[in-house]
Symmetry: D2
Subunit: 362 residues, 4 copies
């Protein structure tokens, strides 16, 4: 019951939204890996609130201070710790809701779990702010993976009923992944961007919020990595992805769609191309038996609409045990999906580096 992940890479995330600081310790990294702080900054900027109406207007600078584990810009191999100090704290905004359960938030469950002792301000340890250290860790891992020729990228697959194109599960390339990551609004299709921005804006104007789906892919990951049963790539990736608040589902390859297919439709034929074994289609999403096949790894993650909406909502005060009505103040994202894109990538980067490190080698 901890905020630790203990596979090949060991991650310990700490902090509360309105405490002194949040951060992460990343342990068991290979030594001597060059890390660019600028690239970390760019990665994390993708998670930071935008000034374009799609996210909160809070000013979260979120510049991580690295306390250990980097020496002369290289990983030392000993724990890499980073802290982000909380500065822009409007705890006043949350004063009146400390015992009122915000619907779809963890106020009530957290109160029970921690016997009322958890820090309730701004969601405390449940806050979406805790994805900042996750992204820091993901950014570090991504740089190590890139040197191995492995590229991870994600885009917004849908916001409500507006759909982006999909990654081509067979032919997606590192270039395409890097291109979509470079966009301020990470979609493949310009048309989708426009309509998604509209629906987000419209939700915001209606004091409402919207959900969506993120699609993530990795290319260059070596075939033959992972394990059956409990340490497969799907086990590890899903374990990490559900560490991102608001995630309600995950599917690999063609995912839920496969449940509506015949085996003859779903099975991916193998063939030889350029001396390499590949599959003609990639319904399996690059993973068979928990192990990478060498095809692009593809999965999609469902995000619920931001729970914090400014409309009046019926709920309860869990201390006085009375029903009440709640109006959430403060500045909130009308849609978490754009900012969730690098979070999903981070979970994936950590999972893939872990799987590489876990492979038994003597």
């Amino acid at each position: 019951m901890s905020s630790c992940f203990n596979s090949g890479v060991k991650i310990s995330i700490f902090g509360e939204s309105h405490g002194k600081g949040i951060g992460v310790v990343i342990d068991n990294l290979p030594a001597g890996e060059e890390i660019s702080l600028d690239k970390i900054g760019e990665f994390m900027a993708r998670r930071a609130p935008k000034k374009d109406g799609t996210s909160t207007t809070r000013n979260e600078k979120d510049i991580p201070e690295i306390l250990s584990g980097l020496y002369e810009n290289k990983t030392t191999g000993t724990p890499l710790a980073a802290v982000i100090y909380n500065s822009d704290q409007h705890s006043g905004d949350y004063g009146n809701i400390s015992h009122t359960a915000r619907p779809a938030h963890a106020d009530y469950t957290g109160f029970l779990r921690y016997n009322g002792a958890n820090d309730p301000r701004g969601g405390g340890h449940f806050s979406g702010r805790l994805t900042a250290p996750l992204c820091f860790a993901g950014a570090v891992c991504s740089q190590i993976l890139e040197k191995q020729g492995i590229t991870v990228g994600a885009h917004i697959k849908s916001i409500k009923n507006i759909k982006d194109e999909s990654f081509d599960p067979v032919n997606v390339t590192a270039e395409q992944l890097n291109y979509v990551k470079s966009r301020s609004f990470p979609v493949i299709s310009d048309d989708a961007e426009e309509k998604m921005r509209e629906i987000i804006n419209s939700a915001r104007m209606n004091l409402d919020s919207v959900g969506g789906i993120v699609e993530c892919a990795a290319v260059g990951f070596p075939a033959g990595t992972g394990s059956p049963i409990f340490d497969g790539l799907e086990n590890i990736i899903s374990h990490l992805v559900f560490g991102i608040p608001a995630v309600k589902g995950i599917e690999f390859g063609n995912g839920f769609e496969c449940s509506d297919l015949f085996g003859s439709e779903n099975n991916d034929e193998f063939l030889i191309k350029d001396g390499k074994i590949v599959s003609r289609t990639n319904n399996h999403g690059g993973i068979l038996g928990g192990i990478s096949s060498g095809m692009p790894i593809i999965f999609r993650v469902a995000f619920k609409p931001t729970p914090s909406i400014s409309r009046p909502q019926k709920t309860v005060d869990f201390k006085s045990m009375t029903e009440t009505e709640l109006v959430i103040k403060g500045r909130h994202d009308p849609c978490v999906v754009p900012r969730a894109v690098p979070c999903v990538e981070s979970a994936m980067n950590i999972a893939l580096l872990s799987a590489l490190l876990e492979k038994p080698q003597i």
Copy 2:
């Protein structure tokens, strides 16, 4: 990279399809819990092949021999080990495919992962047979949970495009879960059973297979159990569920559907009923911030069609690196979903008992 699960309950699964035996060690169980071997037998019988055309005609008796951990029908608190000896082995059936990659199987990825040293007969450690020890562990955990008033049950939500009714996410009861578990074909609606049997039978006649979805629910699980970030109920449940072969996706509560909703539609209002805090709807699936809310826990799991179909398939021989055509012989399930129902329950039973045991108590 192991077949161990190491949360509150520690599970180590071993065995290969055509080796001497398969089994499981379950460690860290509470001591003194009465276990009925008959009930374990009933639970495992639900996973065994049926004589009704929906599954393989192989005769898998799968009677587990308990080696340790039970004394006078109670858990000793020390490791509970069980072995199932493999008897009905037709390894001849697999002789010609040892280096031919069966599409959608792990033959090729397993070959790479284990440098060609893994046991290829019948899928080896990748075989669906390995869900028998999983079900044994699930059956043990379910009996311990039941004494705590916790009931887990699952049903076939769909086979291809044929859909069963859904569990009522707010009002589902232990009785309903137990009823559906008692059915030889675990669905809620008789009508769905008939049509599902038809489509499975038809796939079988066409030398094909079909996929489907399993829906699982738990009631009676105490609110306030679980954790945010990496040790939440979704993290643990999904980690275990992806240990079942053929799983391609998982979603909690309303799952992927939530991505198409406004926050005002998706948020579950809290209210007080009979002196208890409940929610009017249960889109959140009984989990908020990784922690149980006291509402029924609901999730769905997508299964792909059985990869083994008897039609000729194009593929490659990964040793000679040549393209080839493959006809899979042997007796295979035209649909794994009916037999997967107790497997999903097992993952859930293990996850819930783990979460209970992991809750920090001094």
Copy 3:
């Protein structure tokens, strides 16, 4: 291969001697436990260098800044993170030894392990400074244990051939443990203190150093906690104690002495006293089969003499692969044992709280 400990309490220690900061994340603590910062300060002061000639003259203020996990002076139950900024850095002192292996230090082994990428300044992550976050964690755990009536205390059993009295393994009390902890030089006998101070001082004057033994005891720990095989109290305690630099051995109860006894001498008779089962003697050191017996838990830890001595030493430069002579400059402890006392207690406090939390309870 990490600096994490992952039993009931999860500890992740980070930092390098001359980096920005060192610290620790403590996860899975029970929620709502009142923590006194003053008491933490007192605990850590016992590890800080003394002004009395027994330790380095470096000024290590080592005031930990708590970033998360405490709210209104109580544990939130979410990760408790603390950082100690490094201020008094004399990296110049270490300039000339970066590739010269200081005998009995980890310079050479660390260089190999981290491919030359680890931070070599002041020992980097190998530095004794890293026991400050260990003591912080130990201080937190000790306060939680004390509320359960559990008291841990240690004293200097010997410095070189000068011996203190021993704790009475049967009758030692919390009061005695607290008394010895309150002393600036933690011994039982005044006479031992004087002679030990003399021998330390004399070593310092001779540009030399001395080793010694720390004896640690715990009283009030509930009988029946622990496990056989790999999760016993001895396994956990020794695992943690070897996390303290310079430790070369550990023994429980009468320890190595038992190897020279007959069974009839070593076996502790049980008897009933005040309605409780106790043992007449306590050669077993309060642990049988990895599980606490209710008797005081007693163990001793051997510390080697401080490796850093100011005399010329023969060694090698591991980069140029040449033999050389080394004179270590800087300010070093002529004996680490007095400052190691709270470190040993810390390992014990963490171990005992872990064992309590790990006990399966539903």
Copy 4:
């Protein structure tokens, strides 16, 4: 609180002395390693009771049946499970002591830990018989290590006050280790054997028992493997060694003796020999900062006298809470040390293979 070890190699030990069987699952082994069953048999025979008066006259054949993980005599890379069926069960011998606490045994602590539900027959899961699966695992690991040029060997350093010679900590060779392992009574000096046999025999005649010390060494282990703080070689080795019943202490290198030395005496000078960095002396026991130095790894383990002696002993009945006298019947080892030698080696083999597998490599 489990009988699992979860480092690089994952070990799950199960069984009770008088249950159906005992065994072990070894997971995460590298694939394709050739394993000789004959060599496993030889290794385990060293732990089996001898017919020479030094051990119990019980007939423990202890031939392990391998259920999985070996295919064509090579590790498959998937879990290797082995079971040893219990055949020679004299549970009658233990009938009268089920609630009488045998002094220095875990009867009473086990009763508390497991709420009276553990299998008490013959010590149940606490029995020394559980070292048979440990030795099986150690034998498997040793064969994998040997192919890497790594040899582990141990001998009886002392029985009571009779001392064998010591391994030369600088110059001990694989040949010497293999020689001592080949002896039916594993000592270096013939003279020591004779006297040790006498003292064991004399203890047996006196219905008493004796303790002793085992010294273990490893050569060929690559320098630069291990980690500081919590994952060092000492942490891992001691964690495993305390899994052997009757162990009361462990020391590395010169161990407790270092506490009585000056730094100038204890520090090992480095020098260059045959182009390699070595140390002139090896007080550090081959480990610095938790990491191997390339010098032989040396440690000693203290074993208490066998608790089971046939003399009348005063004790209590922990169910009726009355004082009583106990005479232990049955056939017991007058000294566990000769049979403990391969157990200590096993812990070491598992530890070293784990450390190799844990080293971060991508």
